[in-house]
Amino acid sequence: MIFRTACREALGAPALAMAATFLAFGAAVQAVGLGLGWALASALLVYGMPGQMVLVTAVATPGGALPAVLGAATANARFLPMAVALTPWLGKSKLRWLALPFIAVTPWAMAMRRLPGLPPEHRLGWFLGFGLTSWLVAGGATIIGHVIAPFLQAWMLAALLFVNPLYFALILAGETRAAPSRRAVIGGLCATPLVLLLPPAWALLAAGVVGGTLAFLWGQFLSGQSVSGQAIDRR
């Protein structure tokens, strides 16, 4: 059954990356004096680490929480292009809306690798299995992180946080076999100086939009297609 297969796939390196990151998040929430319920609600219902971290950092400063919402939402704005890119692979069934809470970097990145090679009738089941497993791992790790926070040293927290970029680097390296993905990765790398120059809340999104758009236009140029002449498919 494809659902179980996807659950097993999520329990390898993806689970390690998720667990490490959310463990660190749970510890960070405990460090600013917020409860386990807040940590869990943030992990499972926001389920987007940059935004979560922006918010948890802001609540540590008096009166800083509400103004930080816009920055945190902007940091998570990549959900929009991810959902646009993923949805056509999930089929036409209304059940595809079950996938909504699971759209996050790890399930999305794996889905964009796996779904094109699966029969259409298996794609939604695969994503739900992978997404639910990753989501549960994230929740469990957040609880553990919140509980063990007082025992974590700074270097342990740093190591846990580094698992995530390492994992994404491996995902991206696998993606570069396909030319459009390779161009997107190169575009993102070239736009990285923007991350270092712009305000943190929206620097990552700006780099992604600039790098990704240039990569897309580069691909359009190479294939001789005109972007402006194409309308949204209304089939």
Binding site: A41, N76, L80, L161, G188, A207
Partner: protein, 105 residues
């Protein structure tokens, strides 16, 4: 409800709107539609920029790991990926090298 609770609720609603809006926008598009390919390109580029920034100039606790250790960890992970494939072994190798160098430096 405290300010932190209200902020969290607003962020949850924003995430719902972003994910739901993306799904609504794409519901009638094919995977090869230019808008879908553009969105995938933006999402991948965002991820690449995140990885590069995390290695080159991270913020917060991650900055406690020396640059040489972060870079060596990344290179090791990619080398193991090229050598034997998979994800878990390269990930553990990269983390091991990072931690070993961070302790030594």
């Amino acid at each position: 409800m405290t300010g932190a609770d209200l902020a969290l609720l607003l962020l949850i609603l924003a995430g719902l709107a972003l994910r739901g809006g993306g799904m609504l926008l794409a519901v009638r598009l094919r995977p090869d539609h230019p808008m879908v390919r553009w969105a995938a390109s933006v999402a991948l580029a965002t991820l690449a920029a995140f990885v590069a920034a995390s290695v080159l100039a991270p913020a917060g606790a991650l900055a406690g790991i020396p640059f040489a250790a972060r870079l060596a960890g990344l290179v090791s992970a990619l080398a193991v990926l090229a050598w034997r494939g998979g994800l878990l072994a390269p990930l553990l190798a990269g983390l091991g090298v990072t931690l070993g160098l961070a302790a030594a430096l």
